[in-house]
C-alpha cells in the first residue's frame, strides 16, 4: 500500500534578549551556576507578578513578519496549567487563542508553500537533571532557564517528507539568525523541534484520525532520521490494518528508533484561561509598521539581489547569503574591490573557493591578496592621462568637492577612472596621477 505522510512541526526558539520574559533576571543561563539567576517572579514565589519584556514581543513579531504572518491588532497572554517539577508556577504563561502572529507561510526551494499557523510568545521552564545522589535516583532542578523567552512557531501539516522538514528548519534557523533575535543553536537547546507525523492513503485529502508527536530531537539530521523511521513504522502498522496509537514518542539516537513515551495519564487538559496579571495588547497600525521597519533584508531577498546586482551564479549567491555576516563581508569587499577594479564575481569565487576566514581576514586584506596575484597589464602613460583628464572634465562638481577637502570625492574619481581603464592600471598610479593633475 502507498501512503502519503502528513507532517506538521512545532518549533521553539529561545530569544537572546538580555533579560527574561517576565522579570529582570539575566536570560543568558548557559554555563551559569545553578539557581543564581532567579527572582521571585521566575522562581514562582508567592505574590510575584509578571511584567512582559517589550523587546521579546517585538522580536516575536519580527519572526512572524519574516514568515509572512498577519499581526493581529489584538493579542493577549494566557495561562497553560499543568504540573511538572520544572514548572515553577504550576502554569506556563503562553498564548492560546490570540497570539502575536498568525496565518503565515514559508516557500521551499521547490516552490511549495508551507503554511504557518501561528507564532506565539511564551516562557521556558527550568532544567531537570537526572542523577544518582547517595545511591538514590533523583531529579535535580535548576531554575536559571525558567522564564527565558521562547517563540513557538507552529506549521500546518503541509510537509510530506523529511527533506522538506529539514529545508524548512534550516531556513527558519537562518531567518532568526538574520534577524539577530536568536542563536538557535540546537545542541544548546536554543532551538527545539517536535514534528507530528501521520499517514493517509494516497489520494485521500482528509487528515488521518491520529498523529504521533516525536520529541527529543536535537539536530537536523536526527529529525530526518526520526521522520523516516516513523513513516516506515506507521506504514507497517497500517499495512496490517492497525491504526497507529496517538501518542508522544522520543527519538533514541543510539538505537536509531522512536520509543513510546506515553505515560498512562489521561490526555493533557491544560485549562487555558486569560492571564489575569497581564493586560491585553491592542496594537496601533502605526506601531506594527514601526516594528516592521526593523526587518533587515532577509536571506531570500538578499540572494536575489546578489544575483542581480553582482551577476553571481545562483549557487554562489546562496552560499554567500547563508549567514548575514558573510553577506555583509562580501559586500564590504565588493565596495573596496571596486576601487581596484576587482569584479564582485572574482571576490565571490575567492571567498568560496579559498574558504576565507572572515573572522581573521579583513575585507581590505582580501582585496589586497586578490590584487597581488593579478598581473596588471598597464596602459601607456599618455593614454591613462587622457582618460583621467576626461573624467576630471566630466565631473566638475566632484572635482570642486575634492578641492574643498572632501576625501571621498577623490575615491569616487579613482573609481571612475578604473572603470574606464578596465583593469589596465593600478589604483595607486591613478590616485597619484589624479592628485598631481588636480593640484
Amino acid at each position: 500500500m502507498y501512503y502519503q505522510p502528513v507532517i506538521g512541526l512545532e518549533v521553539h526558539v529561545e530569544l537572546k534578549t538580555k533579560s527574561k520574559m517576565f522579570c529582570t533576571c539575566s536570560a543568558i543561563y548557559f554555563g551559569q551556576k545553578p539557581n543564581t539567576q532567579t527572582c521571585p517572579v521566575c522562581l514562582g514565589l508567592p505574590g510575584a507578578l509578571p511584567v512582559p519584556n517589550k523587546q521579546a514581543i517585538e522580536w516575536c513579531m519580527l519572526i512572524g513578519m519574516s514568515l509572512h504572518c498577519e499581526i493581529p491588532f489584538l493579542a493577549k497572554f494566557d495561562r497553560k496549567n499543568y504540573f511538572y517539577p520544572d514548572l515553577a508556577k504550576g502554569y506556563q504563561i503562553s498564548q492560546y487563542d490570540e497570539p502575536f502572529c498568525q496565518s503565515g507561510y514559508m516557500v521551499l526551494s521547490s516552490g511549495k508553500r508551507i503554511g504557518i499557523r501561528r507564532a506565539h510568545m511564551e516562557e521556558d521552564t527550568g532544567k531537570l537533571l537526572h542523577e544518582t545522589v547517595d545511591g538514590k535516583k533523583v531529579s535535580l532542578i535548576d531554575f536559571n532557564r525558567s522564564g527565558v523567552p521562547l517563540v513557538e512557531i507552529v506549521t500546518e501539516p503541509h510537509f510530506t517528507n523529511a527533506v522538506e522538514v529539514k529545508e524548512y528548519l534550516q531556513k527558519l534557523q537562518q531567518i532568526v539568525r538574520y534577524l539577530a533575535v536568536a542563536n538557535a543553536d540546537m545542541e544548546k537547546g536554543e532551538m527545539r523541534l517536535e514534528p507530528n507525523i501521520s499517514l493517509r492513503k494516497m489520494g485521500e485529502t482528509e487528515l488521518p484520525g491520529y498523529k504521533v508527536e516525536v520529541k527529543n530531537i536535537n539536530s537536523f539530521s536526527f529529525v530526518e532520521k526520526a521522520i523516516t523511521f516513523e513513516i516506515a513504522r506507521q506504514a507497517k502498522l497500517l499495512d496490517t490494518d492497525t491504526l497507529p496509537v496517538q501518542e508522544t514518542r522520543g527519538w533514541d539516537e543510539d538505537q536509531k528508533l522512536t520509543v513510546s513515551q506515553r505515560n498512562k495519564e489521561e490526555a493533557a487538559d491544560y485549562r487555558y484561561f486569560p492571564e489575569p496579571d497581564i493586560p491585553p495588547f491592542v496594537w496601533e497600525k502605526t506601531y506594527i509598521e514601526q516594528v516592521r521597519k526593523q526587518l533587515p533584508e532577509l536571506p531570500e531577498a538578499k540572494q536575489k539581489r546578489f544575483n542581480a546586482t553582482y551577476s553571481l551564479p545562483g549557487y554562489n549567491a546562496e552560499i554567500l547569503t547563508r549567514e548575514r555576516t558573510v553577506a555583509d563581508y562580501f559586500e564590504e569587499a565588493v565596495k573596496i574591490g571596486k576601487i581596484h577594479a576587482i569584479e564582485a564575481k572574482k571576490i565571490a569565487n575567492w571567498m568560496i573557493n579559498k574558504k576565507i576566514d572572515i573572522e581573521t581576514v579583513l575585507p581590505a586584506t582580501l582585496i589586497k591578496e586578490i590584487k597581488s596575484v593579478e598581473v596588471v597589464e598597464e596602459l601607456p602613460e599618455d593614454t591613462l592621462k587622457k582618460i583621467i583628464n576626461n573624467v576630471i572634465d566630466s565631473h566638475g562638481k566632484v572635482v570642486t568637492d575634492y578641492r574643498n577637502g572632501k576625501e571621498n570625492a577623490l575615491m569616487f574619481l579613482v573609481g571612475q577612472v578604473m572603470k574606464e581603464v578596465k583593469g589596465k592600471a593600478k589604483a595607486e598610479t591613478v590616485r597619484e596621477a589624479l592628485i598631481n593633475l588636480l593640484k
Binding site: 514565589l45 487538559d269 484561561f273
Partner: protein, 471 residues
C-alpha cells in the same frame, strides 16, 4: 490615658508633641496583644523585636522634626503580605515555616513611611472564607462577643483594629474580605479600586479580583493610609498610573447635592430585618446631610455569587498550583478543606468540556454586572447598601455548609467583579453586634466615598464605640 484607642490622626499629634514616644506606643500595643490575643487569636506572628527597633528609629526621626503621617504608628498586616525575613503563612499550614525572600510593595511603602509593624494577622487560609474559621492557626474571635465569628477572610486584621491591638491593619479584599469583617466588627474598612494599590508581594488569591485595602478606626485614617499605599508599581502590570488625589482635603467637602443610589436588589427578603433597618437609618442620615437618595436597580446582582465562585475558584486553582513543596513550603496534602474545594471547583470550570458552559459564561455575566454599575453611575455619584446580609453569626454555625458561607458574600462580591471601590463604615448595632453600611462608587472614586463616610462619621459616633474587653 490609653493611647491605643486613638485614631492615627489623634495619636500623630501626641507623637509630634512628644506626649508619647513611638516606643511607648508600640509597647502599649504589644502589651495589649500579650494580654488579649490568647482569647482573640488575631495574630499568627508578633514581631516584637523588629517593632521596637523600628519604633526607636521612628522616635529619632520624630526628634528631628519629621512629622510624616505614619511615622512611628504601630500597625499589623494580614499574613497574605510577604515580609522579608518574617514568617508569612497566608493562614495555611502549607506555608507554616515560610520566611519570604522579599517584601510586598505595600510593606515597603509602610517601611518607607516609618510605620511600625507589630505583627502578622490571622486569617482564613489563603483568604478563603467569610468567618475566619478556615485558618489553620485556629479561629479568630469577635471582640464584641467571643462566641461569634469576626467575619473573614481578614479576621485577624479586623479584630486587631477593633480590639485596639494595632492602630490600623492592612489586608486584602477579593470578594468582601475587608468590608465584611469591618462591618461585623464595627470598624472602617476600605476595598480600593482594582489597580489602585499594588498587588506585588501579596499571596495571590484570585488575581483579577484581589485588592489591597485596610482597616482603620475612622474614614479619615482610611484616607490617610490610602494616600501612602496607592500608586503605580512597575512590578504590577495591572496597577494604575492615575495620579493619587489628595484625599485628606477631599473628605472635608460636604455632601450637599450628592446623589446616592439605593439598589433595590440589596434590600430583599434575604436581608436580616435589623440590618435593613440600621442601613436605612444610616442612609436617612446621609439625606439629612444634604445627599439625595435615589432608588436604582442593579438587575444582575443575584448572579454575583455564582459568577464569583466560578471565576475566583478558577484563578485560585491556578494560583495555588505553585505550592508543590519543592522550592518552599509543605506539599499539597497540607492544603485545608476549603482550599481543596476551591482548587477542585476551579479546576472543573476550566476543564475540557466545561469551560464554555461555566468559565466563559461567567466572564460574560461579569460584563453584565459591570454594565449594571456603569448604568447606575450615570445617575448617581455613589451607592449605599448593606455589607453583609446578617450580623456576625456563632462560631461553627456555617462551617460545614460551604454554600451558606459563600452566600455571605452576596453584597460584597459585585464590587470585586466590577473592580470598583467599596467602603464599609459602622452604622449601628443589631442584637448587640455591629452592623456596617457599604458605600460603592465608580472606579477611582475613593475620594467621594471618603467624603460621604467622613461627613457621616462627623455626625455619628458608631465608629467610636468599643467592645468591652477585660484587660
Amino acid at each position: 490615658m490609653d493611647f491605643t484607642r486613638l485614631t492615627i490622626a489623634q495619636v500623630r499629634k501626641k507623637l509630634d508633641r512628644k506626649e508619647i514616644s513611638s516606643v511607648e506606643l508600640t509597647k502599649a500595643y504589644l502589651e495589649r496583644i500579650g494580654k488579649l490575643d490568647r482569647k482573640l487569636n488575631a495574630y499568627i506572628t508578633v514581631t516584637e523585636k523588629e517593632a521596637l527597633h523600628t519604633a526607636k528609629k521612628a522616635d529619632e526621626k520624630i526628634a528631628q522634626g519629621d512629622a510624616s503621617p505614619l511615622l512611628g504608628i504601630p500597625f499589623s498586616a494580614k499574613d497574605m503580605y510577604l515580609t522579608k525575613g518574617i514568617r508569612t503563612t497566608a493562614g495555611s499550614k502549607v506555608l507554616e515555616n515560610y520566611i519570604p525572600q522579599y517584601s510586598a510593595t505595600v510593606l515597603e511603602k509602610m517601611e518607607h513611611a516609618g510605620a511600625v509593624l507589630v505583627g502578622k494577622n490571622n486569617q482564613d487560609a489563603w483568604a478563603h472564607g467569610a468567618s475566619g474559621e478556615h485558618s489553620d492557626f485556629g479561629p479568630t474571635k469577635n471582640p464584641w462577643n467571643l462566641a461569634y465569628i469576626p467575619g473573614g477572610s481578614s479576621s485577624g486584621p479586623a479584630v486587631s483594629v477593633a480590639a485596639d491591638l494595632a492602630s490600623f491593619a492592612i489586608a486584602t479584599d477579593t470578594g468582601g474580605s475587608i468590608r465584611q469583617p469591618a462591618s461585623l466588627c464595627g470598624i472602617t474598612g476600605l476595598k480600593p479600586t482594582y489597580g489602585r494599590v499594588s498587588r506585588y508581594g501579596v499571596v495571590a488569591m484570585a488575581s483579577s479580583f484581589d485588592t489591597m485595602g485596610h482597616f482603620t478606626r475612622s474614614v479619615e485614617d482610611s484616607a490617610l493610609i490610602l494616600s501612602v499605599t496607592a500608586g503605580y508599581d512597575e512590578h504590577d502590570a495591572t496597577s494604575s498610573e492615575k495620579p493619587v488625589p489628595h484625599y485628606a482635603s477631599e473628605l472635608k467637602k460636604n455632601i450637599k447635592g450628592l446623589k446616592i443610589g439605593m439598589p433595590k436588589e440589596y434590600f430583599t427578603s434575604g436581608l436580616d430585618s435589623n440590618v435593613s433597618k440600621t442601613v436605612k437609618t444610616a442612609m436617612h442620615k446621609l439625606e439629612e446631610l444634604g445627599a439625595e437618595i435615589i432608588p436604582i436597580s442593579l438587575p444582575h446582582t443575584q448572579y454575583g455569587v455564582g459568577v464569583y465562585y466560578i471565576l475566583q475558584t478558577a484563578e485560585v486553582s491556578s494560583n495555588l498550583a505553585r505550592y508543590d513543596g519543592i522550592r518552599y513550603g509543605n506539599n499539597r496534602e497540607t492544603f485545608g478543606d476549603e482550599a481543596k474545594r476551591r482548587i477542585m471547583l476551579g479546576t472543573f470550570v476550566l476543564a475540557h468540556g466545561y469551560y464554555d458552559a461555566y468559565y466563559k459564561r461567567a466572564m460574560k455575566i461579569r460584563t453584565l454586572i459591570r454594565q449594571d454599575f456603569d448604568i447606575a453611575f450615570r445617575k448617581v455619584d455613589a451607592i449605599a447598601c448593606p455589607v453583609s446580609p446578617t450580623p456576625a453569626w456563632k462560631i461553627g454555625e456555617k462551617v460545614s455548609d460551604p454554600l451558606a458561607m459563600y452566600l455571605a458574600d452576596i453584597f460584597t462580591v459585585t464590587a470585586n467583579i466590577a473592580g470598583i471601590p467599596g467602603l464599609a463604615i459602622p452604622a449601628g448595632f443589631a442584637m448587640g453586634m455591629p452592623v456596617g453600611m457599604q458605600l460603592l462608587g465608580p472606579q477611582f472614586s475613593e475620594d467621594i466615598l471618603f467624603r460621604i463616610g467622613h461627613q457621616y462619621q462627623l455626625t455619628t459616633d458608631w465608629h467610636t464605640r468599643k467592645p468591652d474587653l477585660p484587660v
